[in-house]
């Protein structure tokens, strides 16, 4: 859950103004052509799936789309998807915000441990969480089953940005409110919630996008949404036009969610003078409610972390037999790591030109380029995979279909926005002013690049790589569609076993997947702690 880190960074305190950066617009330099060409190329490839969907719809024409869109199935799916998304988003907002507030602002015992435990579920893929629940409670399913499991799987997407914004928010605002005669409860409503509103909304948007794109968890829980239906139409019904029509609705829903967030962000800013809040706020005393809150945390961590991890451990210990051909877990792990590393590399390199353009050559062109790439967020992985498959079938006679290259391309497209956020931040770490100082000290362009720019930018590039790596390791849906014949990743092999109810065989794959994903998560955490804004705050 990718996006976690993306948002956490966005709600982090703003970076200090670039030291030595020229007071921009007046002395803007000419944009290098090559860079621009690379940026445009990257953006075009990214928008390929979306463009294909629109093109396809236009080609089929309204008369073909109409019966596919206006049938009772669409209405059912729309209702299922929207109502579940709404319920889970609200639940996550409440759980995430309350948990963040308790951990960051109260005297809850064991705050440091809770802060870690509450976040870990974000590293467990949603389909593994639902596998855990389903394998222990086989009767679980339907609307409320899906709502329960998904809320427990994705609430950290709200928790993380809200906790970050509480850490950076100015505690003096609450004190001022109290001094103006507001009670504790009204202060919470009118000041604290206002401080975290933007972060919480950002988290909610992520939750909604994840809900719209999720496939595996719903398949396991037997709950029909757009994604499960598109998958069925496409892979079992071989009904291309129907899959496309449903994808279109799904993308429109996602775009709706994204623009809704943009509008809510428009008004109001958290203005704070005098740099970062250096003072640690005095924690609120929980008093008599301490026991109840503590019980709540035990329940939350038990359900969100204990159940899936417990299930994996249980099935690993109990084993079991399977009629499926066994694939070496090492071979699956190798494929997983190879695809993830390749996709991380491609996405990071592709993000570089757009990041450099937007940081060093701000202007209308570069901002259009940068924003257009965020549209990818609205295209679920399954739709990206379908679009690429169709493009290959229709316009390239099956060229590259189910090839390693196409799978890596799909990953790179899906997770490009994540890479861009990290690469952009890293490019901003090396403002041109520093290079100018370096050259004025008598060092050549090349030497400055090697001794200044590279060391400053490299950690961020590594972070971008890790983000994409982490996402690819736990990706299931697009992988199922595009994986080359004969190859298996940890996720697809896990999926094959669990579909066959061979839980004992499936469990080790889930466990290894989580272990591999944990390494880049750790690296990422370190990187975000080292960003200068944080470093200065702790200095």
């Amino acid at each position: 859950m990718s996006a976690t880190v993306l948002r956490e960074h966005e709600s982090a305190p703003p970076l200090p103004p670039n030291p030595g950066a020229p007071p921009a617009p007046a002395r803007r330099r000419a944009t290098p052509r090559l860079l621009l060409a690379a940026g445009v190329l990257a953006a075009l490839v990214l928008l390929l799936p979306l463009a294909f969907l629109i093109l396809q719809a236009a080609q089929d024409g309204w008369s073909a789309l109409h019966p596919l869109l206006f049938r009772s199935l669409t209405a059912t799916l729309l209702w299922n998807t929207v109502s579940l998304t709404a319920v889970v988003t609200v639940l996550c907002a409440v759980i995430g915000t309350l948990a963040a507030w308790c951990v960051e602002r109260t005297d809850l015992p064991g705050r440091r441990i809770w802060a870690v435990l509450v976040v870990i579920p974000v590293g467990i893929p949603d389909f593994v969480t639902s596998f855990g629940w389903k394998s222990i409670f086989p009767s679980l399913g339907g609307f409320w089953g899906a709502a329960l499991v998904m809320s427990l799987a994705v609430y950290p997407l709200v928790y993380l940005p809200v906790a970050a914004s509480l850490r950076s928010a100015d505690p003096a605002q609450e004190e001022v409110a109290r001094s103006l005669g507001l009670g504790r409860v009204r202060t919470f409503w009118r000041v604290t919630l206002a401080q975290v509103k933007v972060a919480a909304l950002g988290g909610c948007v992520l939750v909604a996008l994840v809900m719209l794109a999720e496939y595996g968890a719903f398949e396991i829980l037997g709950f029909r949404t757009f994604t499960t239906e598109i998958y069925t139409e496409f892979l079992t019904g071989f009904n291309g036009p129907a899959a496309c029509a449903l994808s279109l609705v799904l993308v429109v829903l996602s775009i709706f969610v994204l623009t809704g967030e943009g509008l809510s962000r428009g008004r109001g800013r958290q203005a704070r003078t005098g740099g970062l809040a250096a003072r640690v706020p005095r924690p609120h005393r929980l008093g008599r409610s301490k026991l109840a809150v503590l019980a709540g945390f035990f329940a939350l961590v038990g359900l969100a972390l204990g159940v899936p991890v417990g299930a994996i451990v249980y099935w690993m210990l109990h084993g079991g037999t399977s009629t499926l051909p066994s694939v070496s877990i090492l071979s699956a792990a190798w494929h997983t790591v190879f695809y993830a590393a390749a996709a991380g590399l491609v996405a990071t390199l592709a993000a570089l030109p757009i990041a450099i353009l937007s940081v060093r050559h701000p202007g209308r062109m570069s901002s259009v380029l940068e924003r257009s790439t965020y549209l990818v967020l609205a295209v679920p992985g399954l739709v990206v995979a379908l679009a690429l498959t169709y493009v290959s079938e229709r316009y390239a006679a099956g060229f590259l279909y189910q090839s390693t290259a196409m799978l890596i391309l799909a990953y790179a497209i899906m997770f490009f926005p994540l890479a861009l956020v990290a690469v952009r931040a890293s490019v901003a770490q090396a403002p041109p002013g520093l290079e100018e100082v370096g050259r004025s000290l008598g060092r050549s362009r090349l030497e400055v690049l090697w001794r200044l720019t590279m060391p400053l930018v490299a950690p961020g590039l590594a972070a971008a790589f890790c983000l994409v790596f982490l996402e690819v390791v736990t990706e299931l849906t697009a992988t199922l569609v595009l994986i080359p014949t004969g190859a298996q990743t940890l996720a697809t092999q896990f999926w094959a076993f669990q579909s066959n109810i061979s839980y004992g065989q499936a469990a080790p794959y889930a466990g290894l997947m989580i272990l591999i994903a944990a390494i880049p998560s750790y690296v990422l955490g370190r990187w975000f702690d080292r960003l200068p804004s944080r470093a200065q705050a702790s200095a």
């Binding site: 002395r27 050259r439 400053l456």
Partner: protein, 360 residues
């Protein structure tokens, strides 16, 4: 000897002409300040000298070598033998203080005595292993300065080096910077919008306005003999009153005052604008000789006080500013007599009444 010579320099960004014909020379070993309001092109001028931008017209000569002349010469930044200290210091965030200072030195010398010597010079001998974010603003600025000095550059460029500092720190760092520059025997060019800083720090001050250098002089020369009323108002507080030039002196509401400088009258009388600095204004108890006025406001500064006096006679300037040291015996509302001492500067008023220039 001249370290830096700029002739007829032009620079525009798009349609925005920032510098239009700058001429400036900086003598070797001097500290010259470029003083101008924000947006006057000071920083641009510095960046052109450093070689971060190219000029549109004119020439820049460093130590006898033309380094920038469109069409005929260009020397890259790293070969100009300059030191550059940007506004925020811009220390390299991933390097320690030692490595920052040693950045420009050849590989073998980066850990050597030169760095120790410089650390000693700024009183940070024990702090070489720290990272920039672990330093205070003043320390960062000192490190940025010695980093620029480490390679013994011919010319050091400082871009508002004190503006990012706390006012309380500024005076100390300023004195240190001057001491360091003197110790290094460096020629320096400093950009600032703070007239106090320019006057107190520099040997010479160039006032830049509307894209040109409109006056370049010693601080004293600039203060006592500004080229026009605008410069007069920019480098300190000024009372500007009308007068009439008569035979080497000027007749004002304060009586006939000796005219400092070359303000000789032309044939016959001529209308003039007269500059009276607040410290030339004297206040006496009412009833004595002088212009009648009433104390409007007083600002106590410790070392002196600034008094605003409402004139009760026709002077052409209804409020007179006076700077008085020591005790001020006059309360607000108290009537006083105002006199003016010493030579003043006067400019003739052109016949059309609008243009003002220095008396011939």
């Amino acid at each position: 000897m001249t370290e830096l010579a700029i002739t007829d320099l032009h620079k525009s960004f798009g349609t925005n002409a920032v510098l239009t014909g700058v001429d400036l020379t900086v003598p070797t070993g001097s500290l010259t300040a470029i003083l101008g309001p924000s947006g006057s092109g000071k920083t641009t001028l510095l960046r052109l000298i450093a070689g971060f931008e190219r000029i549109d017209r004119g020439t820049i000569t460093l130590g006898g070598t033309v380094v920038d002349a469109p069409g005929s010469a260009w020397v890259a930044s790293e070969r100009r033998r300059i030191g550059y200290v940007p506004q925020e210091g811009s220390l390299f965030p991933h390097l320690t203080v030692r490595k920052n200072i040693g950045f420009g030195l050849p590989r073998g010398a980066r850990d050597g005595g030169r760095v120790d010597e410089l650390l000693e010079l700024i009183g940070m001998a024990g702090l070489g292993g720290r990272y920039p974010h672990q330093l205070s603003g003043g320390q960062q600025q000192r490190v940025a300065l010695v980093r620029a000095l480490a390679t013994r550059p011919d010319l050091v460029l400082l871009d508002e080096p004190f503006s990012a500092l706390d006012p309380s720190l500024r005076a100390g760092v300023r004195a240190d910077v001057r001491r360091l520059l003197r110790a290094a025997g460096a020629t320096a060019l400093l950009v600032t919008h703070d007239q106090d800083e320019a006057l107190s720090l520099a040997d010479r001050v160039a006032v830049i306005r509307y894209g040109r250098v409109c006056q370049c002089d010693t601080p004293q020369g600039l203060y006592d003999d500004p080229t026009d009323t605008e410069v007069a108002g920019f480098v300190g507080e000024a009372n500007l009153v009308p007068g009439v030039l008569v035979n080497g002196s000027v007749r004002t509401a304060f009586g006939e005052l000796p005219c400092h400088c070359r303000a000789a009258a032309r044939n016959g009388a001529s209308d003039a604008v007269v500059l009276i600095r607040p410290e030339q204004v004297k206040l006496c108890p009412a009833g004595q000789a002088g212009l009648c006025g009433r104390v409007l406001e007083r600002e106590y500064h410790g070392h002196d006080s600034v008094i605003r006096v409402q004139s009760e006679e026709e002077t052409g300037a209804s409020v007179i500013l006076a700077r008085i040291s020591g005790q001020v015996p006059y309360a607000v509302g108290c009537p006083v007599a105002v006199t003016v001492e010493g030579p003043v500067v006067a400019w003739c008023v052109e016949p059309d009444g609008s243009q003002v220039r220095r008396a011939p």
